[in-house]
């Protein structure tokens, strides 16, 4: 028995040694979503900097936060969504960005920063990938499609449409259809939006955030509300599927790059962030992930089909109407109440 324990301890010590600071080559630890960086770029960075890049993954912002908040150490760069990045910053988990080490930040899309970013000066977080939410539809079966939230009022499609089972996304859609901000805290506007969603609810098959991808791919549903990355992947395979962000505006989400305050490899971490914002590398990642890395200098290097896709590059007029969903703190309760009333209706 002792031998087993001893062996497992030894294995543990070895594992810890391997991933710790021991060894000749320093290791950079990323805590990210799966398949989020072009694999060739990782190798390139490792060779150029004489280091190893170790990637670990998480499945939701909330579980990642719970783990780091409880004190898990050893990670250098994390890829949280921007609302979570601001929570982490308030909790003191992040190290400030040293702009002297990040010359490529000059390429970050200024318009994105000015209009949408939560951390406009990139003090603690640098944007990595942008996505939006919108509507996908079957071209051959949906007559007179228009990129508008009004699609969910179409009685002829009743029972063949889905809206996301996500309080803020779906309430946000209704608020946008009314011309309000999707981060409003005005009770009257929220009540109006609630009634819109109640009206839409009569036409949809269900609220769904998981099955819409196969649902639209198999034509079980004709119109679905979902995230651009997911739906563009379906559209790229299935010619009959189209995707459009609604003209009234929609939500835009960004995953950021942040360096943890407890990181032991701050210089290397800065080098990596700078590397990801090298225009050629940013273009490669955009192409691989099918989201958009907001790096202006990279846009010219993207293939034409991505350049001209209005669902990836939102037209300026539409972009003006889009917003990032922000955490409303105490005011979240107003949305929860409205959402409960919708579900109970």
């Amino acid at each position: 028995m002792m031998r087993y324990i001893f062996r497992s301890m030894l294995a543990a010590a070895m594992a810890a040694g391997l991933v710790g600071c021991g060894g000749a080559r320093p290791a950079l630890h990323l805590f990210t979503w799966a398949d989020y960086i072009e694999p060739g770029l990782i190798k390139e960075f490792e060779q150029a900097n004489g280091c190893r890049v170790v990637i670990d993954t998480f499945d939701s912002n909330e579980s990642m936060y719970a783990k780091l908040k409880a004190g898990a150490r050893g990670y250098d760069i994390v890829f949280p969504s921007s609302y979570m990045a601001s929570v982490m910053q308030k909790e003191g988990l992040l190290a400030p960005m040293d702009h002297a080490l990040l010359p490529n930040l000059a390429h970050v899309d200024r318009e994105y920063l000015a209009q949408l970013a939560l951390d406009k000066e990139m003090k603690y977080s640098v944007p990595y990938m942008l996505s939006n939410s919108g509507i996908a539809y079957r071209k051959s079966k949906v007559e007179r499609f228009e990129p508008s939230w009004a699609m969910f009022d179409r009685a002829d499609l009743a029972g063949r449409m889905t809206l996301m089972n996500d309080m803020r996304e779906t309430m946000g859609a209704a608020l946008k259809s009314l011309g309000h901000s999707l981060n409003t805290t005005d009770e009257a506007q929220i009540a109006q939006a609630r009634d819109v969603v109640k009206r839409w609810k009569r036409n949809i098959a269900k609220f769904d955030s998981e099955q819409y991808k196969p649902g639209i791919a198999s034509a079980e549903f004709l119109v679905v509300h979902g995230y651009s990355g997911d739906l563009l992947q379906v559209a790229s395979e299935e010619e009959d599927v189209g995707y459009a962000p609604p003209k009234e505006g929609t939500s835009v989400a960004c995953d950021d790059l942040v360096i943890l305050a407890g990181s032991g490899q701050k210089a290397l971490a800065h080098a990596f962030i700078n590397f990801l914002h090298d225009p050629a590398n940013a273009a490669k990642n955009t192409e691989c992930v099918q989201f958009l890395c907001p790096n202006s200098a990279s846009y010219a290097q993207l293939p034409e089909e991505i350049r001209s896709n209005p669902a990836i590059f939102l037209p300026e007029e539409l972009r003006q109407k889009c917003e990032v969903i922000i955490d409303l703190g105490q005011d979240n309760a107003k949305y929860v109440r409205a959402w409960d009333q919708i579900k109970a209706d």
Binding site: A12, A15, V54, A70
Partner: protein, 256 residues
């Protein structure tokens, strides 16, 4: 009296409900379509892609390492614990029984977070070592109860017989007790291995840099990875798991 057909029908219904989704998943893993919606032809490309995907294999090795260490240690400790619960009675054993029983009913999230806090506060670096310790913690209970179940059929008089025939405690243990318990220990080991290899919640919390296991990686892929790749992987894992379960059942049958 005519026998009712109802149990048969209910049985078939339950089996279909349990296994049909798995059949569908394995079938979808051969679907050329990326989203597993419409059937777009038979293809092995997801299996081919799976073999090229390095992070998945790294994660698989981590999972196997943890499962083997976890199973090895928990089988020894669990068997001893089962033996103690069977052999000795008294207040202390009742405490022991409830302590071993607790991990079976404690929610995973609670166990994950509390182990994480323990490791962080005692300065143990997170990694494969901490995942292995966590897995040993919950696997011991399963092994102990499987072995205990086996011991309930154990005839204690063989111990006296062995002693009468001049066997020392070591010979008794090695030549009599262990062979009789072997099927129970083996099925406990199989159970521990399968539990360890699928665990997500506890593992996520106690994993450290460089020790992502397969389930943790798979959950992360669901967000924007390729679901069909996961189907192919689940197909493979299911084949391995079913293989192990069948093996475990054969051990049990042989013992009868």
């Amino acid at each position: 009296m005519r026998r009712s057909r109802l149990p048969l029908l209910a049985g078939i219904g339950v089996l279909l409900f349990l296994y049909l989704p798995m059949v569908a998943l394995v079938a979808q893993s051969f679907n050329a379509s990326r989203f597993g919606g419409r059937w777009m032809g038979f293809s092995l490309k997801w299996y081919a892609r799976l073999f090229e995907n390095r992070p998945i294999w790294d994660a698989l090795w981590n999972s196997l390492f943890v499962a083997l260490v976890g199973t090895g240690v928990s089988v020894v400790l669990g068997t001893l614990s089962g033996w103690a619960m069977h052999r000795y009675r008294g207040g202390l054993q009742r405490v022991h029984h409830s302590l071993v029983y607790a991990p079976l009913v404690v929610p995973d999230v609670l166990m994950g977070i509390s182990l994480l806090l323990l490791f962080v506060n005692s300065g143990v670096p997170l990694g494969l070592g901490t995942i292995s310790l966590a897995h040993i913690t919950f696997c011991i209970s399963y092994v102990a109860f499987v072995v205990l179940g086996r011991l309930q059929e154990f005839d204690d008089s063989v111990l006296d017989a062995a002693r009468d025939l001049g066997a020392g405690w070591w010979t008794t243990f090695w030549r009599v007790v262990l062979p009789m318990l072997a099927p129970g220990i083996a099925s406990g080991a199989v159970l521990a291995f399968t539990l360890s290899i699928d665990d997500f919640v506890i593992t996520f919390f106690v994993a450290g840099p460089g020790s992502t296991t397969l389930p943790v990686h798979v959950y992360s892929m669901i967000r924007h990875g390729t679901p069909t790749l996961i189907n192919a992987l689940s197909g493979l894992l299911m084949a391995v798991t079913f293989g192990l379960v069948l093996l475990g059942q054969r051990f049990i049958r042989q013992s009868r």
